[in-house]
């Protein structure tokens, strides 16, 4: 664990501090994550770590056995989204606005992919996240990412819906 504060920018306690053993639910509700065999390794304030086990169904280059870049994209997107949840003090829905990925080196065949993401800034409307994907050493990344997410509380979504209906 890092010594990151257990509270959000507003001083309220973080949601993940209250989840306890229900943390695994964060991935269970995502059908495509289940389909990929994605696993939640750990969550802590503002950070998440996930894994996709090597699977021949996910190969992108049949000549080398290397996994498709899209698997890395999906893993970084999902890990970043959970890192945003790890920075929330009340539940809000998230939508990815932008995801940028640099591919530093090819993944190696037959090895699992791990991603870590850090939500380093969260405002009322937007969350900013950095991430990295690697085999076992975070300092030797296969890919790094930066992403922004739009946040919407349930009440603001209801208001938007009502405005749409009135228009």
């Amino acid at each position: 664990m890092t010594d990151a504060p257990q509270t959000g920018p507003d001083g309220a306690p973080l949601l993940i501090g209250m989840m306890g053993p229900n943390q695994h639910m964060l991935l269970q509700g995502v059908p495509h994550a289940r389909e990929l065999g994605m696993e939640l390794l750990s969550v802590e304030p503002y950070r998440a770590r996930l894994k996709v086990p090597y699977d021949p169904r996910l190969i992108g280059n049949p000549l080398t056995g290397v996994l498709h870049g899209g698997v890395i994209t999906t893993l970084l997107d999902n890990t970043s989204g959970i890192a945003v949840f790890c920075a929330m003090t009340k539940f809000m829905s998230t939508a990815t606005l932008d995801l940028r990925i640099d591919y530093m080196r090819p993944a190696e065949p037959w090895r699992d992919l791990i991603a870590e993401a850090h939500c380093y800034r969260i405002t009322r409307n937007i969350a900013f996240v950095r991430g990295a994907c690697f085999h076992d050493d975070p300092n030797d990344p296969i890919a790094t990412s930066v992403a922004t997410f739009m946040l919407a509380s349930n009440s603001s979504r209801k208001k938007a819906k009502a405005a749409e209906g009135a228009a």
Binding site: H32, E35, P62, L63, G69, N78, L99, Y103
Partner: protein, 145 residues
């Protein structure tokens, strides 16, 4: 061995189906495609397995990114003389609208093709091509390491 036909052969045959079928992950996602002259259009068939948010419901953002990246690579194979699969160097994806539980289409444009690196833009849409759900721009390494 793996049944991946040579890329030069594929270009000559003018058929991208064999290329798509040779790549396991493309089959896993449920992507098919057609080629009209030089222009490739890929289809991501809707299935419940590609949902990311069941409440909305919405397609997984990662799948849309992966689909756009695949479209860029297939277009590069068709339009250039490359003898191996282009590798992504960097990609940026803008998410413009929710991906609804429908079939999704994508097409790519090669903005610049240098000797080693190509710059590509791709767009994904559902019912209305003029209302894209996501756009990608990226650089792809065509040769060398």
């Amino acid at each position: 061995m793996t049944g991946l036909p040579s890329l030069a052969d594929l270009r000559r045959m003018g058929d991208i189906t064999q290329l798509l079928q040779a790549i396991p992950y493309i089959q896993f996602l449920g992507v098919t495609g057609e080629r009209n002259g030089e222009q490739v259009t890929l289809t991501l068939r809707y299935s419940p397995q590609i949902i990311g948010n069941p409440t909305l419901p919405a397609l997984h953002g990662g799948v849309i990114g992966a689909f756009l990246e695949t479209t860029a690579i297939v277009q590069l194979v068709v339009s250039t003389e490359t003898d191996r699969l282009p590798k992504p160097v960097d990609i940026g994806i803008d998410y413009l609208r929710t991906g609804r539980p429908l079939d999704t289409y994508a097409a790519a444009t090669i903005t610049k093709h240098g000797r080693r690196v190509a710059n590509v833009r791709a767009e994904a849409w559902q019912e209305d091509r003029s209302r894209p759900i996501a756009a990608l721009h990226g650089h792809f390494l065509m040769s060398g390491d």
